[in-house]
Subunit: 212 residues, 2 copies
DNA sequence: GTACGTTTTGAGCATCTGCTCAAAACGTAC
DNA sequence: GTACGTTTTGAGCAGATGCTCAAAACGTAC
């Protein structure tokens, strides 16, 4: 078998193992058992288990980013965006993609070497969502108001948190998804605005846009 | 030494070990080494390493909840709430409490037995923040608009996500904290409101409150 | 001081981990 | 068919893991 085909087999087996056994249960032997090959193959092709894990997250991320980009680009209204994103999130849940990513993130948190590399694979996905948000909100208003870095951080945090919670408490995962949470936060802010309790710093720009 | 005192020593050593070595590095031997006692003590007093880990999160949670409750109750305005909560979050960061909780959460995600037990220890803390939010927003408007469960879920998710991100990318943790993210999300919603792009479902209640 | 229940220890077991390595199997070119 | 480079294997190493257990140390009551 060619080298590339085998690498793919290893990556596939790694993904399956994480899905079924969790990140802590994903050892070289567990991967090899699930893929039905010798565990030494992993070291021959990837050098270490960590490197195989990283290949697995890259693969998962790549597919996911592609799917999100396809479905989210060109969306015209915020309600549409929410509906589509909720669908995507639900699909991720069902396919077990969230398990993989969350497990990998969780396993890498605190690992000073793996952490930044995981963000590398995670950030482009956030960027897709941010781009869609920008399209919907309208470029100029968006640019003036929200520094991209902060927005990315906030959205990343919410996404990650929802995924992690979904695993801590799987029973609730179905009904309360990512954009449900975003909607709830949005509602809080609406109440604050309605009752005059606007969070600081109150950006004067908002008022201007509202008046214009 | 009395049984209780020794149990406390073990819990303390467990917390310190998680702080310094991460959840994956926290083995019975590592805990015993750090606390300078025999590892068999852990099994004599707790029965298993997992049970010692759970005692550690209970202890950490209890302290944290107390501190949050003391500082957040009686707060009158939203800006005050944000400022105090940001302080608390910063302190948690510096003391390493976030490391412990995030590591424990991450380690337990996917573990069907430990997950729900961790939420048990985690939820009361969220509740403290929710109570403070309710006080600031004003009871009746709050009750009408946001089902408590959804709010708890959203806030939990955001808190968890920020903590996890802080560990993936420690360099950014200092400047962008939890309530910074919440503020950013709030700003997004403000723009949406200003530009007329109100997320669905548009709650009629909000409009009513705004008009009244 | 001796007896007794609790607490602490050191050694050890079975099993797991990442990883190495020599030998075997394979594919291909001649 | 033989030779050669690539791929795959089985066995094994050193070290770690959770946990057990008999024996030692300890505290206290008499």
């Amino acid at each position: 078998m060619s080298g590339e085909a085998t690498k793919q087999r290893i990556v596939d087996a790694t993904i399956e193992t994480i899905k079924h056994e969790g990140i802590v249960g994903t050892s070289a032997r567990a991967i090899a058992r699930r893929g039905d090959f010798n565990q030494a193959l992993i070291f021959y092709h990837f050098g270490s288990v960590d490197e195989a894990l990283f290949a697995a997250i890259q693969e998962t991320s790549r597919h996911r980013i592609e799917r999100y980009r396809e479905r989210l680009t060109g969306v015209k209204s915020f309600p549409d965006l929410v509906a589509i994103a909720a669908d995507l999130h639900r699909e991720d849940m069902e396919e077990g993609n969230l398990t993989i990513l969350t497990q990998l993130m969780a396993g890498a948190a605190g690992n000073p070497e793996l952490g930044p590399r995981l963000r590398e694979a995670f950030d482009p996905w956030i960027q897709v969502v941010i781009d869609a948000l920008r399209d919907v909100l309208g470029g100029s208003a968006y640019e003036r108001l929200v520094p991209l870095d902060d927005l990315g951080y906030a959205v990343s945090a919410l996404f990650l948190g929802v995924e992690l919670l979904a695993h801590l408490d799987p029973d609730r995962a179905g009904s309360e998804t990512l954009f449900g949470s975003m909607g709830t936060l949005a509602e809080i802010v609406q109440v604050m605005l309605a009752t005059g309790e606007v969070p600081e710093p109150v950006d004067a720009t908002v008022q201007r846009i509202a008046v214009e």
